[in-house]
């Protein structure tokens, strides 16, 4: 018979390693998926994954069942992602416009997008379309990027995202609208 989350958590709280691992393996695919899509980098994603579950390991003794385990876990996940500083900042250096202006938009300024010299033809040929899209998503502010990833790539409901980020649904919508606006601004030369 399969144990439910609650049983596993109680066992894990008593120090049962197998129970903890089983609990991890129930959800770690989702955690890794968020980390991968948020960071766009496998090494960063593995670091994020590890950091999340080390925090879960340290915190599980104090888990008081006031929320679903998954909600708690994804809250940790989004938190870890949002505060994470990439080890490999250099892995993406491509942009579609060499002098973008971000006066009215909340772009993430720590990530500098550098024009890689592609001609418009190369860009529209799709040769590095994936990279361009990634760079555009990475240029979003961490919270815009996180809500966008959770909504668009991971398919969570706005209500669920609000729970994970511990904010109001209206705030999530605002992040999503801003994210879309910024992405359109960056990507319209490619798809329009």
């Amino acid at each position: 018979m399969q144990l439910n989350d609650t049983d596993l958590i109680i066992q894990a709280q008593k120090g049962n390693q197998n129970a903890f691992e089983e609990l991890v393996y129930r959800y770690d695919r989702n955690v890794l998926s968020i980390a991968l899509k948020y960071s766009n980098n496998e090494d960063d994603a593995k670091d994020l994954y590890q950091e999340v579950f080390i925090r879960v390991y340290r915190g599980i003794k104090n888990f008081r069942f006031q929320s679903e385990f998954s909600t708690w876990l994804f809250r940790i996940t989004t938190n870890v992602c949002l505060t994470y500083k990439s080890r490999s900042k250099e892995h993406l250096k491509v942009s579609i416009d060499k002098d973008f202006d971000d006066e009215e938009h909340e772009f993430n300024t720590t990530k500098e997008l550098v024009y890689d010299g592609s001609t418009p033809e190369e860009i529209s040929s799709g040769a590095n379309l994936g990279e361009i899209v990634n760079a555009a998503v990475e240029s979003l502010s961490p919270k815009q990027r996180m809500t966008f990833v959770l909504k668009h790539y991971e398919g969570y409901k706005i209500r669920e995202i609000a729970e994970m980020l511990n904010c109001k649904e209206g705030t999530v919508k605002k992040y999503l609208f801003d994210a879309t606006k910024n992405l359109r601004k960056k990507l319209s030369p490619v798809y329009a």
Binding site: V24, R29, L32, Y49, Y57, L129, L183, L187, S188
Partner: protein
């Protein structure tokens, strides 16, 4: 409803987040509004462009690599905890009783202070909770103890009580046989936690005798952790050498395989390859 609000509804509809009555409203509006139809097309195109990685499932190889890394990290987390407890036990007996809390770098103290003085009670594991009860023990904080990282939990003294944490450390001099379990636990703690790579190296070398078989399994687990995680290649190499003196088992084999596939230093990869037995 304003035009702009419809534009937001458009987006929510593409995300599948509209209530049915909103959906109806939007549909009606789209029939009469050219601009919103164009907007819808545009947003659809954008999402299509971006959805390249949408369906991509997590790569099984990346997942198992992440799980493997996590198991190593958890092992290190556990051995740190165990070692901490045994180091705490062995070191505490070197202190006169009110100073049981004090040793380098490891203990975080939570101390409640009332006007008048402090008393330290040792409590479980790495949290030491003390509460004042009238006895003046401040004098016990003798001169060779250094206090750092004072952080306030409650700095409002209006109720006569404040609460803060600080690190209290004191140099400890230990001398003894390397087969002594207390000496071993201190050395093991040092190889995992000492900031200075030279000290980590020395701790490993100090344990490098011909008879590591007598060592506790914590020592081997700590070595495995060092081999997999220490950033200093010299420290990793010494740990690898020492680990190879332990009786060969599955954990060692996994560690060697890890080094062969992951270590950035070719010399270490070769050494691991030599250590590998079938």
């Amino acid at each position: 409803m304003k035009h702009n609000e419809y534009k937001q509804l458009l987006q929510l509809s593409l995300f599948g987040e509209l209530k049915s009555e909103e959906q109806v409203k939007l549909k009606e509006h789209l029939l009469i509004c050219e601009e919103c139809r164009t907007e819808l097309e545009d947003q659809k195109n954008l999402l299509e462009l971006i959805s390249g990685k949408k369906k991509a499932a997590v790569d099984e190889e990346v997942l198992s690599a992440a799980r493997y890394q996590l198991r190593g990290a958890l092992r290190s987390e556990r051995s740190n905890q165990n070692i901490f407890n045994s180091v705490a036990d062995s070191i505490f007996q070197f202190f006169p009783s009110p100073l049981k809390f004090a040793f380098a770098g490891a203990a975080i103290l939570i101390i409640g202070v009332l006007i008048g003085g402090i008393l330290f009670n040792q409590s479980s594991q790495n949290e030491f909770i003390g509460q004042q009860n009238g006895d003046n023990r401040f004098a016990s904080l003798s001169e060779d103890i250094s206090i750092s990282e004072v952080r306030f939990i409650d700095s409002d003294a209006s109720d006569g009580e404040v609460e803060f944490t600080f690190q209290a450390s004191r140099p400890v001099h230990l001398k003894g046989n390397v087969n002594d379990s207390q000496i071993q636990s201190v050395l093991t703690y040092a190889m995992l936690n000492e900031q200075n790579p030279g000290s980590r190296l020395n701790s490993i070398n100090a344990m490098d005798t011909e008879t590591p078989t007598q060592y506790d399994s914590d020592v081997k687990n700590a070595l495995i952790t060092v081999i997999m995680t220490d950033e200093n290649p010299g420290v990793r190499r010494e740990a690898l050498k020492l680990m190879n003196k332990f009786p060969y088992d599955e954990a060692m084999k996994q560690t060697l395989l890890y080094v062969i596939t992951n270590d950035t230093v070719s010399g270490l990869r070769i050494e691991a390859l030599i250590g590998l037995k079938d």
